[in-house]
Amino acid sequence: MKDQSELEVLIRERLDEIKSIPARDPVVANRARARFLANAVSASKLPRHKGWSSIFRKEQFAMNMIMSVLVIAGLLFGGGATVNAAQNDLPNEPLYVLKIWSEDVSLQLQANPEAKVDRLMDLVQIRAQEMTRLIDAGEPVPDQVRLRLEQHIQDALQTCLTLDEPALDRTLLQIRDRLQDRDRDMDRLLLHTQAQDTLQLLTQTRTMLRERLHVVDDGLLNHEMFREQVRNGFSHGPADDVTPPVQNGNGQQNGQPTFAPGGPNTEPGGMNTDPNGPNNTPGGPNTDPNGPNTTPSGANLNPGGTNTNTGGNNNDSGSGAGGTDNGSGGNGSGNNRP
């Protein structure tokens, strides 16, 4: 016992050598805080799945068993056919949810990053085709399609972070070609569209595509810059307007970040924090909550564990800014994949 405490004292002395650390750079700290809060704001605006997680809770074990049996039976006796049939469905059709689900599953099963990017760009094309078919049928294009298209591109660029240099070059070229194709699709659709809502949606999509094309073009010239840009997230619209909060001498923030130009943020120097409060702003700062470690599967599976895909849900491409609504997420399906 005595040995143990002596050893502890000895080790403690050595460890004390790394205990004192230089003060944190307040500018960097403030920037990091503003980025996190901007991510939090955009996360709060994104639609989230509701109720899925409760199915998997321990206390509902019996229900789980029944569900599992039903799902397995369903898959064995016609699940494949149903999923197959769903592939042609549009957002306003009943099996569309199944189509989205099967896409997500196919992505989850994709271990090779290059193949995953390829698959994601296929999905971008599928979304564009859905837009075309809806417009041809005179139907409105739900925003969900645009958001998902944007998410696929985002995920593809995130996946690129895991590639080595030659593979990154190849993949960026492939992404560029396919984004150019989609850009042309949008041009074509814009010519044949009359509805104001759809026109706006297509214009937003085209703007986003061109911004991502720009990122990819730059990335081909400078991989490091590309990686940095993807890690830090993209700004779409007024993201640059996020200003870091003022900090006093003690390193304590005096207020919340402000998002200018102003929407009706009801709290001076703060955010609209009423969970049920109205958000009167058409769009918010669009930043990416992604960190550098983007591998979707990894060894450590504990909560928030290592190697989890932190791929963001940077779907908000609204062009407005201002109030920072933090009402709880909506009920959209398919836009918030694990």
Partner: protein
């Protein structure tokens, strides 16, 4: 913990639960409060283990990004928020060293001690030795050593991070000290 500044704003369990409940709804004020309460502690923890400010900042950013993502996916923590965040940070650091061991050591070596006074240089070398010795421990041992001796956590708090009983923490700690003594003797 000895450093009172690292304590969360939400000092009580019920306050923390309330905060977590709001955070689960992605309430930005709650998230800001959580960030303000824990980010500097996480930074200090990362900095002590990594010895590099920029990488420590990356660790903080990634820790909170993963936390946010977990909340979005409705699998965020329901209790022991601090333990949860430190666990993410620890996992990130272990991963970081696993993936960047060689490049990180090289960049540390390139950060020459030639430009700094002799005693500072000696201190740097000793610090590197200590960090390297910690890295050679198992992930659990690393975590116990870092939280117990660098962050001054008690065994109960560490047990929350590692999801292990206090007895197991004590035994990990005992083995870690033995290994560390051996490793430090070797590196010195």
């Amino acid at each position: 913990m000895s450093d009172s500044t690292s304590y969360p704003v939400s000092a009580t369990v019920s306050e923390e639960q309330k905060l977590l409940h709001l955070a689960a709804q992605l309430n930005t004020r709650a998230l800001a409060e959580i960030y303000d309460a824990y980010s500097s502690g996480i930074y200090r923890y990362a900095m002590r283990r990594l010895g590099d400010g920029a990488v420590a900042e990356d660790c903080v950013a990634e820790t909170f990004a993963r936390f946010l993502k977990a909340l979005q996916e409705r699998r965020g923590p329901r209790e022991h928020l601090q333990a949860y965040l430190y666990r993410i940070a620890h996992n990130w650091i272990v991963d970081f060293y696993r993936n960047n061991e060689q490049t990180f050591e090289l960049s540390e070596a390139l950060r020459s001690e030639a430009d700094i006074p002799e005693d500072e240089a000696a201190k740097h070398i000793r610090q590197k030795q200590v960090r390297k010795a910690i890295r050679c421990l198992t992930p659990d041992q690393q975590n116990v050593v870092a939280l117990k001796y660098l962050e001054d956590w008690c065994n109960e708090e560490i047990a929350c991070v590692l999801h292990k009983p206090v007895g197991a923490i004590k035994s990990i700690q005992h083995r870690a000290l033995k290994s560390l003594q051996k490793l430090l003797a070797e590196t010195s």
